[in-house]
């Protein structure tokens, strides 16, 4: 297996895009190629993610992006894995490059839903769940995570104030991120006053619907001369799955796919959770960050919420979590999210994260979940 690097990464500002997904995806892809310093002609494949592209009445985005990049003969395919689509694309790129089938690959994720009303956007988000046995029985997407939050509270006594601390921390980080959808801090009082969407989850427990695009360039070490930016060495790229419908899982206080993907990733990387300096985890809802920190092995079950409320996961804490602001504040343009997490880690490794720069950047982990954990990616990165 060849050592494989992320050599370039770029994102736009998440939120509301005036341009089409196709334009935004092409723009960030070109920027990521420029950052990488790699001759675009070396790109052997483009892995595109655009799970809800039909909302723009456009499928088959790869050839459109490649053509506009001046690479019309480069093959492409769309990789869909709900909210973990572009980390699945990164995994595909890694497998192909590390395995020697490609020298370099482009991973692009994009989503645009802001032209839909909230009800339609909610319905699109729910499409990652089981339409026959979950959505048809009344679940909204927040409702599914709310059910997990309810079970987690039943077992571990997780409080609203502890969930609120996740939102407050991620908004504080997002306020320092010029690419974040929400660049404003919130107080715990604001959180507690926000309306209940699906009990126990409030409005400020939920990530927004965001438009956005992100891209990363992956290349084999041996084909990169002098990299123009500090690369991320991909030490692990692991994917896993869980029983799709959460009612048929033995435990409702975590996501089995996170646990299995994490143990595979730590095994690949040859390190344990204690080695990780900071992490970007999938906080589509505050409870998801709590469960992720437990399922990834950073905290024992039932301990992450209190540790977060005590400041351990802040920028200055012992394990900074979601310095970008996470899905909660940076935003959640579904198919861009996984690649966007890697953009944040790339910026942090290159010490370009400004006011949200974390102190130590030797090792980082990215965790990206599809829907309620039917699919999950865990990537681990280090310096050269």
């Amino acid at each position: 297996m060849r050592e494989t690097w992320v050599v370039g990464a770029a994102t736009n500002r998440y939120g509301k895009m005036a341009e089409t997904g196709r334009e935004a995806a092409t723009r960030v892809a070109l920027e990521a190629l420029d950052v990488s310093g790699i001759d675009p002609k070396r790109i052997g494949y483009t892995f595109v993610s655009n799970a809800f592209g039909v909302a723009e009445r456009q499928a088959h985005l790869g050839p459109l992006i490649n053509t506009a990049l001046g690479l019309p003969d480069v093959p492409s395919a769309t990789i869909e894995s709900a909210c973990s689509s572009s980390s699945a694309g990164l995994h595909e790129a890694f497998v192909h490059v590390a395995g020697g089938f490609l020298d370099a690959a482009l991973v692009v994720g994009v989503e645009k839903l802001s032209h839909l009303d909230t009800l339609a956007a909610t319905s699109y988000f729910a499409m990652g769940a089981d339409s026959a046995f979950e959505t048809r029985n009344g679940a909204t997407f927040p409702g599914l995570y709310a059910t997990l939050a309810h079970a987690h509270r039943q077992k571990y006594g997780t409080t609203s104030e502890q969930l609120g601390a996740v939102a407050v921390k991620n908004h504080a980080n997002g306020a320092k991120n010029p690419h974040a959808h929400f660049q404003k801090e919130i107080s715990l009082e604001t959180y507690l006053r926000s309306p209940v969407i699906a009990s126990p989850l409030r409005l400020y427990d939920c990530c927004p619907f965001s438009d956005g695009a992100a891209a990363v360039v992956v290349a084999a070490r041996e084909m990169v001369g002098a990299p123009s930016a500090e690369p991320l060495v991909i030490r692990a790229s692991a994917r896993s799955g869980s029983v799709a419908e959460m009612q048929d899982r033995p435990d409702l206080t975590g996501l089995p796919a996170t646990r299995t993907a994490a143990s595979a990733a730590f095994r690949q990387a040859g390190v344990g959770p204690e080695k990780i300096d900071f992490t970007e985890v999938h906080d589509c809802f505050t409870i998801a960050e709590v469960m992720a920190l437990e399922d990834l092995g950073f905290y024992p079950k039932g301990r992450a919420a209190a540790a977060g409320a005590a400041g351990e996961t802040s920028l200055q804490g012992k394990l900074p979590v979601n310095p970008s602001g996470g899905l909660k504040a940076k935003g959640h343009p579904v198919s861009a999210t996984g690649a966007g997490q890697v953009v944040e880690i790339f910026e942090q490794f290159n010490r370009r994260a400004g006011a949200r720069q974390v102190p130590k950047t030797e090792w980082a982990l990215a965790h990206n979940v599809g829907a309620t954990g039917g699919s999950c990616s865990v990537h681990i990165f280090s310096h050269r």
Binding site: L119, A120, T122, S123, A126, D130, A132, F133, E134, T135, R136, N137, G138, A139, T140, P142, G143, A146, T147, L148, A149, H150, A151, Q154, P195, V196, I197, A198, S199, P200, L201, V243, E245, M246, Q247, D248, L252
Partner: protein, 134 residues
């Protein structure tokens, strides 16, 4: 099983069960696992000998949420509860409970009963202790 009239081994049959026949359908695996979702192979043990089962209509709440913002199919129903229910005799099923506005109105372990309805999905109602569903 005839190809023209798929019964239980189709998602449509599950739906007809809920919404037209007043039945909760599922599969029982050789390993003892009971699922109320659609599968061809047991998701728990990986064996193929699933048998069709009609599940009991009563059970207990395992976990739930009160949704104030509905999905499009339930636009006129909010607020309502979405719940996971452990059925008596095995199988865990999801469903919704109309008319629930506050989380405190329900409790884990509380008894509920499947109520056949023309409305979508699996509808449950609370069972007052010793009585019939509300």
């Amino acid at each position: 099983m005839s190809d023209e009239t798929p019964r239980l081994h189709s998602i449509a049959a599950f739906r007809r069960g809920y919404e037209e026949e007043g039945r909760l359908l599922g599969f029982r695996s050789a390993c003892g696992f009971v699922t109320a979702t659609w599968a061809l192979v047991c998701p728990r043990c990986g064996q193929r000998d699933l048998t069709e089962a009609e599940l009991q209509r009563t059970g207990r709440l395992v976990a739930f949420t009160v949704q104030t913002v509905p999905s499009d199919e339930f636009l006129n129903e909010a607020p309502y509860a979405y719940a996971l229910v452990d059925l008596d005799g095995g199988g865990r099923v999801t469903g919704w409970i109309p008319g629930v506005a506050e989380e405190a109105e329900l409790s884990v372990g509380e008894r509920v009963q499947f109520v056949p309805s023309y409305k979508p999905g699996v509808q449950f109602a609370r069972v007052p202790s010793g009585g019939s569903p509300t």
